[in-house]
Subunit: 205 residues, 2 copies
């Protein structure tokens, strides 16, 4: 059994429960750093574009990716395309981007583990007996990367992180600070998007 | 000096660098759990709707929120409205949602710390002398919550997490699995969004 793919203990503390998908994302992220020849990201260079969405399971992959690579949500280095696929592309300037997808054959076999019977009955991960979850994790650790991940080098992959600015101004209505790219104008005064009566949550402006 | 607001050591390892905004998000998250009377989220109940965006600084707040609350990106419990504001609303079913915003007066004073002079010159956080960053962190620790955060109970706050489904099918073109809500149809066959020639990354479908 290969133990180098085990996330550090604090990764489980961060994630909040024992599950097999966080470790699979961790392993994907570690493999990506190795394939890219990149170090864990301290600041803001590496970006990970995940093809997952919402309202479906197995998104825990992305916490493992955050842990392994340092491409965290807080640093705006990880995002979702809302495609509902268990895949992610790792982009680093000057290197060839690389995409990893969980293979369908792997998912078919994996889905037979007892862990998934609990999940489909609606049991949350923290409520599943730990030996059941551990069995699913251990099974993945018995497999090679090639059993699990389809790997695709993407010389064509285009990505441009947004240009940053420190500029900000007070919204003339609510008095809160707003960073410049999100300031709107109303009656010649700067306003934030909600004070502008604007777009609701979840809409990129 | 108040040390209960210090994140655990692994939080800095997760985040990747020493900075003052991750700890400010951690403190916001801990305060939110206390105000809501909720425990750190193990599974999928608490949701945090952050008013931040991209292409601006200080987003590191959100890593501190993930660390404190367990509302992680991988569990699809934290999201952005793209409003460019340093605020977040914490939602838990059956409780009154609560919003925290960094006060403008706090940000004005905070912006005078030497740390920000480095950042505005384009120095990444990992490149700033640690005593400079620590000074900024220690200054925030000398303040009360009331100095830093505007707190707003939001009895009117509406939020509905998306309904989940385990159903998935293979894309008839690429052969990869796609969760049901993201499957599209082409010539009577199921396809994934990219194979449908569909929406580009960053667009919610």
């Amino acid at each position: 059994m290969n133990t180098k793919h085990r996330p550090p203990e604090w990764a489980f503390e961060f994630h909040g429960h024992l599950c097999p998908f966080m470790p699979l994302g961790y392993r994907m992220g570690m493999r990506a750093l190795s394939d890219l020849g990149a170090a864990r990201e301290k600041d803001h260079t590496l970006h990970v574009i995940c093809e997952l969405g919402e309202g479906h399971p197995q998104t825990c992959l992305m916490d493992g990716i955050q842990v392994a690579t340092g491409a965290t949500f807080g640093k705006t280095l990880i995002e979702k395309t809302y495609w509902g696929k268990l895949a992610a592309t790792f982009w680093y300037p000057g290197k060839t981007a690389v995409r990893y997808a969980l293979k369908a054959e792997f998912l078919d076999e994996f889905g037979k583990r007892e862990f998934f019977a609990y999940r489909k009955r609606g049991v949350e991960p923290s409520g599943i007996p730990s030996h059941v979850t551990q069995e699913a994790i251990d099974w993945t650790l018995s497999l090679t990367d090639e059993n699990i991940y389809a790997v695709q080098r993407r010389a064509d992959f285009q990505y441009q992180p947004p240009k940053g600015s420190f500029n900000k101004a007070l919204c003339s209505k609510c008095g809160e600070y707003v960073f410049e790219r999100y300031l709107r104008q109303q009656d010649g005064k700067p306003v934030c998007i909600p004070c502008a009566g604007g777009l609701h949550q979840n809409i990129r402006s």
